[in-house]
């Protein structure tokens, strides 16, 4: 099996190396062929792995590939842990990645950095696979940071744009704030377990829960809670939870294919995956779970609200992603890890679909991203329209589509949960359903229905490099097959993935991987009432989330189709609410002034005052001057006159004689 797993990981890496280092030699076709071949191999083999683990009842695989280093008795290793949880992630990652690779052929067609782009998305696939397949904290952290690196390089792919290179630096540094905590979390784990291996650490979870650490004098904290919260802060940056979410909307500066792959379907879900993987630890700390629950709920609701006032099509989808990540986080907090993972999977499909559909629209309109200059595209782009409709319905949780099952699972689970904060979270995720439907269909109607506003559009301001030769005002047309085929292939699981609700949510699919304390096992209790997919749908239609979603959809239709002036009116009546949302609650301003500005001012002051003035001028050069001054005085004695010296000698002699005589 090891060869198989290695092939899955290394095939994309090899593709990345060929396309990246020999891009000029292999050319464009060579670059996309080799990377697509690499990812396709990974995908096919992941299917085999999934079949082996999920269907054929294969054993959990947990082996070391090689020893990274051994020091002080602690082994740092690279190795794979493959169980159903991993197998599912591998399938999702390689499938979405393959779709995005194919799609990129069309999307990046004219870009001079074509080969570089393919190299990077393949490198990303490698890194992400390393992350999900890790059997230890070292490799987890390697994958964790490697996906961050590729994300950095891809957000700044168009490195001439000031906004892009601002956004990628911001993304990396904010993620580093999370990693800062993450590393400390690993430190806490190794402190207790003296091992980085998942299984060895999990085996000591109970003793770790009893161990304490004194962080502030006089207070003893559970070491496990500290570790769990620190690790989760890492997840908050990677999976963009408030208040470390600020980088994700800006990451939309990157080309759309990576927004779909990295900033919607896979990398940003790494935090969710990590917490699920660590469920044997988190289950011992209700405090950490509570923290997760509250953070997730805040993100789910308040980030969704911002989506209501965005006009950039990609940013609407980005805020939607933030909100959906919040849902997944809430599921984790409610100990419904399986529900979180299930939503992670369905969301990967329909959100990648929505991003790629948005990209298709952006291409058709020659890199126009402002929804106010779209509209009525339905008849020009039938395939994009149909697939976007499926994606949107899946996102709002329309019965029968993938998102319905996974989101309902989360909401029901939170409803039943008794973890502190669950009621608060329940109210927010419920309200979030309405908001989701509203912003989703606001976008959908603004783009595909209504008046055709793109014809009198002024030339788009910041469009992509290498695409400047668009012919504005022409009739938009459907995208080429390399774009539409991935849309269709993603639309299929966006409809069907939900039907796995039985085994994934209520069955024992994740039994090997996830651990849930019996007292908090809400999914098991939900599962008692589960009577098949149809029953689940019928039950769902009678529950508030469905009606809230319909209400959101209806409101969107009424406001943006029937009475377009209402939106403006709402904005005029509640200017403060609009302002708060438009400024995204002021996180960016706050960070700019306090953290970025503060660090720069402090650095400047330390340099000017500490290094330059105090150490260099006063102490170093000061002592040089002092020596100079003293020797200047002493030099006065060295007159060069013989009688001065003779006189000094006589006095000296007298002093000595007297000293000895007395």
């Amino acid at each position: 099996m090891e060869t198989l797993y290695l092939a899955i990981v290394l095939a994309p890496l090899l593709g990345a190396i060929v396309a990246g280092l020999f891009g000029r030699q292999v050319g464009r076709v060579g670059a996309h062929s080799v990377t697509i071949a690499g990812v396709a191999i990974s995908f096919v083999l992941s299917l085999v792995v999934f079949w082996y683990h999920a269907m054929a009842g294969g054993e959990v695989y947990n082996e070391t590939v090689y020893t990274w280093l051994v020091s002080d008795g602690i082994r740092f290793e690279i190795g794979f842990l493959v169980d159903n949880l991993t197998a599912m992630m591998m399938l999702v990652v390689t499938f979405v990645s393959l779709m995005v690779h194919v799609y990129t052929i069309g999307y990046m067609q004219d870009d001079p950095g074509y080969q570089r782009f393919f190299a990077l998305i393949s490198l990303f696939t490698f890194s992400m696979l390393m992350l999900v397949m890790a059997n230890n904290f070292l490799q987890l952290f390697f994958g964790w940071e490697a996906v961050g690196l590729v994300s950095y390089l891809l957000i700044g792919f168009w490195f001439k744009r000031p906004t892009a290179i601002y956004a990628n630096m911001k993304a990396f540094i904010v993620n580093r704030v999370g990693d800062f905590a993450f590393v400390l979390g690993i430190g806490a784990v190794v402190f207790h377990a003296a091992s980085l291996d998942y299984m060895e650490v999990f085996a000591q979870a109970d003793t770790m829960a009893d161990a304490t650490i004194s962080i502030l004098p006089g207070s003893e904290w559970s070491l496990l809670t500290v570790a769990c919260i620190l690790l989760f802060i890492g997840a908050m940056a990677k999976s963009a939870q408030v208040p470390l979410h600020v980088w994700l909307p800006d990451s939309m500066e990157g080309p759309t294919p990576i927004s779909a792959l990295i900033h919607a379907a896979t990398m940003v879900t790494a935090g969710i995956f990590m917490v699920a993987r660590m469920s044997p630890l988190y289950e011992y700390s209700v405090a950490a779970l509570s923290f997760i629950l509250v953070i997730g709920a805040i993100t789910a609701f308040f980030m969704g609200l911002i989506g209501l006032v965005q006009n950039d099509i990609k940013r609407v989808v980005a805020y939607s992603t933030l909100s959906q990540l919040g849902y997944m986080t809430v599921a984790l907090g409610a100990s419904a890890y399986a529900a979180g993972m299930f939503h992670l999977m369905t969301h990967a499909f329909f959100k990648a679909l929505l991003f790629l559909a948005a990209g298709s629209v952006i291409m058709a309109l020659h890199h126009e991203q402002d929804m106010r200059r779209m509209g009525g595209l339905r008849k020009y782009m039938p395939i994009t329209y149909a697939t976007a409709l499926i994606g949107s319905l899946a996102l709002i949780g329309f019965p029968g589509l993938a998102g319905f099952f996974s989101k309902d699972g989360i909401i029901e689970a939170v409803h039943m949960s008794s973890t502190p904060g669950a009621t608060f979270a329940y109210v927010l995720v419920l309200a979030g359903v309405f908001v989701t439907a509203l912003y989703t269909f606001r976008m959908f109607f603004m783009v595909f229905h209504g008046e055709e506003r793109f014809r009198h559009a002024p030339p788009a301001a910041g469009h992509d490099e290498g695409h400047g030769h668009g012919h504005h005002g022409g009739t938009p047309h459907e995208s080429p097959w390399v774009v539409t085929v991935p849309l269709i292939l993603l639309a299929i699981p966006s409809v069907l993935a939900g039907y796995f609700v039985g085994p994934l949510l209520f069955g024992d699919f994740f039994a090997d991987a996830l651990f849930v304390d019996e007292s908090r096992d809400v999914l098991a209790r939900l599962g008692e009432g589960y009577d098949g997919v149809l029953g689940f749908i019928i039950h769902g239609i009678m529950m508030p989330p469905f009606w809230l979603a319909m209400a959101g959809l209806g409101t969107a239709w009424y406001v943006y189709m029937k009475r377009p002036e209402l939106a403006q009116k709402a904005r005029d009546t509640l200017p403060w609410a609009y302002n708060i949302l438009d400024r995204k609650y002021g996180f960016d301003e706050f960070n700019d002034v306090v953290f970025a500005g503060g660090a720069r001012r402090l650095g400047q002051w330390l340099w000017r005052f500490g290094d330059t003035l105090l150490i260099d001028t006063v102490i170093v050069n000061g002592s040089a001057r002092a020596v100079g001054w003293v020797s200047g005085r002493l030099r006065l004695g060295q007159t060069g006159y013989l009688y001065h010296y003779a006189f000094a000698m006589i006095i000296g002699l007298l002093v000595l004689i007297l000293a000895f005589a007395l």
Binding site: D72, I74, F159, M169, R176
Partner: protein, 504 residues
Amino acid sequence: MFADWPLLSLVIWTPIIGGLIVLFVGDRMPEASRRLSLSIAVLTFLLSLPLFALFDRSTHEMQFVEWVPWISTFDIHYHLGVDGISMPLILLTTFTTVLVVLAAWEVIQYRVSQYMASFLILAGLMNGVFSALDAVLFYVFFEAMLIPMFLVIGIWGGPNRIYATLKFFLYTFFGSVFLLIALIYLYTQAGSFAILDFHHTPLGMTAQTLIFLAMLLAFAVKIPMFPVHTWLPDAHVEAPTGGSVILAAIMLKIGGYGFLRFSLPITPDAAMALDWLMITLSLIAVVYVGMVALMQKDMKKLIAYSSIAHMGFVTLGFFIVFMIYNNTGDWQGAGLGISGGMVQMVSHGLISAAMFLSVGVLYDRMHSRQIADYGGVANTMPWFAAFFVLFAMANTGLPGTSGFVGEFMVILAAFRADFWIALLAATTLILAAAYTLWLVKRVIYGEVANDNVAQLQDLNRREFWILGVLAFAVLLLGVWPAPLLDVLDATVDNLVRHIAVSKL
């Protein structure tokens, strides 16, 4: 066949004698000097390889030992040997010297043979520092090393080189005088100048404290630690590229090496009593110097400050050990800290060499080190940009590069000592990312900033290979550090066992 060669003498004297020959070839034949220097540097590197290959990883004992009586009256001998701590540093020296000779190829046109000779002789002296087991021999190499570097900065340096050389020389000389006093005192106690005898000499607390402080002055200046670090940015800014590379990659490591070879084993009780001071200064280096690095306008100064911050990790790893013991009651984790510091030294040798060589590549073309003069270099130098981003990432400690290994080990070790120490140390993840990536953003990315940038030529073949080799080394050590740790393990274990026993 190599086993019975005097390998250590060879790696010391080949470059020194070779350097003298290059000097005689003279400036009239610059091309011949270059070729000869490269051959000597490569030969020295090849001669150092058996040290790694034949190294016995299972023992902490000194290996490749050579012993020849020198000044028997005072029991001073030509005594050489290496263990797991010094051997990797010798390899780093011989490796870096090859790169430095190559990097000077077309760049240095003024007094070529003297430039090359300085670096060759310097390399021999530094190998001497790392392999000397006699305190006087060590001291001779330790001081002699300053002379070539003094010349390199003073002759081939920038406009303000006189101030920088004086500052560099006086600072380091000031420190090492105290070292000499300490060594002479130790001789009176141990009855010999053998460093290994010093390790086993019983010393009272007062003596230990004084010796520790005297040595601290010498090594703290070298490595350098806050607040005796301000000579380094000045020296780097004025030094030619090769000077900066050797300074950052090797000479700083001599400070760290001194702590392991002298301070910790000779004065363990004083080190234990004063560990709070060392830890505080290390953390100041990480946090304060990291902040200062953020605001630098000169690329070399920025990298110099970054070096100081990274060396903070080295000293933190070395001196965290006692606190681990006090906090947890056993020495588990101490070896992790010391090994982590050692890995950080080797890794920083590679990364800082790469960073300074990269800045050198830019400087050779634009004759400016000011960040503000650049912008959008990626447009005209894509290969260079790729290398620079890689080294920048290594500098921020990205996993998969060597920069990560040592930092990770030290943070894990620090957590065993105290949560807050680990927390302050871990801020490097944020600070290093901030100052390094901001540098990348301003220099590499963006639109072409001005006509000079527009006319930049990408790397030539020589530059490509120099940076390529370093990139390979940085990645190799990041992906598979085990070979280095295998070398360190027995020696570090022994060191921890040694310092665990009080000398009082």
